[in-house]
């Protein structure tokens, strides 16, 4: 059972240099369980590097990662997955020539049992894929359809469903709607909304403040490699966020206490 007042994940003092350039510089970043946390900022603000540190796709130079208050080692994508962090990258997520079920289970194929355990259990994976898609209200013609033939929104939903299926503690979405049209974008956001309602914790890079204010609980703004600030969406205006993006800020963090008022906790005290 996770305690909603302890951060699900915390990045402390993270720095990553490429050559002489600091992509991120001494960044602190905190996400609480059950929140949808937006990550905003201009190009080269360090958003991608930040999430890649959490996803294990980039080896940070300094800094610690804590999950549920405990320090953990994340040096590779395998490490991150082991700790329940799933990342959906903009365009690297799916193998086009495989079908929906195969993509959902890519790298985690379910095998048959006993002597047949060297063989892939196609039927099981197809059934499970159909189940998780249904649970997330994603409608696709067939889990046997190759991803190649699907729309951008459908593909992105499959990539996200993959993260959800494996009971990720934290799901990171790297600009999930960057290349999508209006209708397709709506489809992906319906899914993120559904995930929020089902209690998943999500970090989402986004450039669209309407989406951020529509979907997210808090927003962290990055500016030239440092954190400008973290705001509670309910207590901020879009102007506040725009100012942070343009002018930067003094690395503040509006904590989360007022975010989800928790009456049951009040009774405990």
């Amino acid at each position: 059972m996770t305690n909603p007042s302890v951060p699900l994940i915390e990045l402390r003092g993270a720095t990553k240099k490429y050559g002489g350039v600091k992509a991120i510089d001494n960044v602190n970043f905190t996400v609480y369980p059950g929140e949808v946390h937006a990550l905003c900022g201009d190009n080269a603000a360090g958003k991608s590097t930040l999430i890649k540190c959490l996803a294990g796709a980039v080896k940070r130079d300094t800094g610690d990662i804590l999950i549920n208050g405990k320090s953990v080692q994340i040096q590779s994508p395998r490490d991150a997955k082991r700790h329940g962090i799933e990342t959906v990258y903009q365009d690297l997520a799916l193998a086009d020539n495989l079908n929906v079920a195969a993509n959902l289970f890519l790298g985690r194929e379910v095998m048959r049992s006993g002597f047949a355990r060297i063989f892939i259990n196609h039927g099981f994976m197809e059934d499970e894929a159909a189940t998780v898609l249904k649970r997330l209200k994603i409608r696709l013609p067939s889990v046997r359809q190759k991803v190649h033939n699907m729309s951008g929104g459908q593909r992105q939903c499959v990539a996200i469903a993959r993260a959800v299926y494996f009971n990720a503690q934290l799901i990171i979405l790297d600009e999930p709607t960057a290349a999508l049209g209006v209708k397709e974008t709506e489809m992906v956001f319906d899914l993120v909304r559904e995930m929020r309602d089902q209690g998943h914790t999500v970090i989402m890079i986004s450039h669209n403040l309407n989406h951020v204010f529509d979907l997210c609980d808090r927003v962290t703004v990055m500016k030239t490699g440092v954190r400008a600030g973290t705001l509670k969406v309910r207590e901020a205006t879009q102007d506040d966020v725009v100012k942070l993006i343009m002018a930067g800020g003094r690395d503040f963090d509006q904590s989360r206490d007022a975010l989800h008022s928790a009456p049951d906790l009040a009774g405990c005290a």
Partner: protein, 321 residues
């Protein structure tokens, strides 16, 4: 929520389905119809078995080649690898080693080259074309040096069974080809190995980010393809009852041709074993037909070349619509 379903009646869809049928299959049908009419000898049992026998070695190599092409790679070394494995097999037999041990020695020799290919391509991100061009020379030199540049003859008479032996009325190479086809098919469709063959060709980076040891799997694909070539070398050795250091010359190109006729694409992600088998059979049928039609031997290669270009051009045109 939006749902974008594909309409079944869409004529473009039907046309695309036709495009999925590899050129090799069209070619086979055309050749069969044409040659049945043109030559009374073509459709005899003896001739058909002869075609499959002729196709067997190329077909076995094309199985591995197809896997590699699906991963967006290529293996030019498979011909010399076959020569090398055959020479090791022959030398081991002449040295008095038992059959199973000599076979293992030949296949291991092949797998070493395959392992080197895979290691350089997967772990060091070198281009498959260049790497296998290099190991092409390496395998050829190994074969030459072990054999002293001569055919290794005086093999035990049992070797010929790999070519002449019959099981239930069919020659051994046909059984071996069928068995290796089935094995590779099962690997490709029902194991992680096969899943990752397609995934490497489809999106290598995604597979890596999914936490898969991509380099290791990719290397194993080259090792497997080399092992198949090693096995094919036994049939090749049995045909002439001698191990010749250049016997594999050009086989890699026939295997590439078979794979491409069968629908494999150099841009990766695409290709089937059925297609490759049909491709190998189509080339063998074409050569057989040219023989039956008394076309001079020196023009047969040209005919095969023209057919390959025409087939691939046809695919490209269908792919564009």
């Amino acid at each position: 929520m939006t749902e974008l379903s594909i309409q079944n009646g869409d004529p473009r869809k039907v046309w695309a389905r036709l495009g999925d049928v590899p050129a090799a299959l069209y070619l086979l049908v055309i050749l069969f119809v044409g040659l049945s009419v043109a030559s009374p000898y073509f459709l005899t049992q003896a001739n058909l078995i002869n075609i499959v026998l002729q196709a067997s070695v190329v077909l076995i190599i094309s199985l591995g080649m197809t896997l590699i092409i699906i991963t967006e790679g290529i293996d030019l070394s498979l011909g010399p690898v076959l020569s090398f494995a055959g020479v090791v097999f022959g030398a081991a037999l002449v040295a008095g080693w038992s059959f199973p041990v000599a076979m293992i020695a030949g296949i291991v020799a092949a797998m070493l080259i395959g392992g080197l290919n895979g290691y350089l391509i997967a772990y060091h991100d070198l281009q498959p074309f260049i790497v296998t061009l290099g190991t092409f020379g390496l395998a050829m030199s190994f074969a030459m040096s072990i054999s002293g540049g001569e055919s290794i003859s005086g093999l035990p008479s049992g070797v010929q069974w790999f070519n002449d032996g019959h099981i239930l009325g069919l020659p051994f190479p046909i059984w071996a080809t069928a068995a290796l086809f089935l094995l590779t098919h099962i690997l490709l469709k029902h194991t992680r190995f096969g899943r990752y063959v397609y995934a490497i060709g489809g999106n290598r980076k995604a597979l890596q980010l999914a936490g898969v040891r991509v380099n290791l799997w990719q290397t194993s694909i080259y090792v497997y393809a080399a092992a198949l070539a090693g096995f094919a070398s036994f049939i090749m050795t049995a045909r002439t009852n001698a191990a010749h250091p250049t016997v594999g010359m050009g086989l890699e190109f026939d295997a590439i041709a078979a794979a491409v006729l069968g629908g494999a694409s150099f841009s990766g992600g695409k290709g089937t074993l059925f297609g490759a088998a049909a491709g190998a059979l189509a080339v063998a049928t074409l050569r057989n037909g040219l023989n039956l039609m008394n076309v001079a031997a020196e023009w047969q290669s040209a005919a095969v070349g023209v057919v390959i270009i025409a087939a691939v051009a046809g695919d490209a045109i269908r792919g564009r619509t």
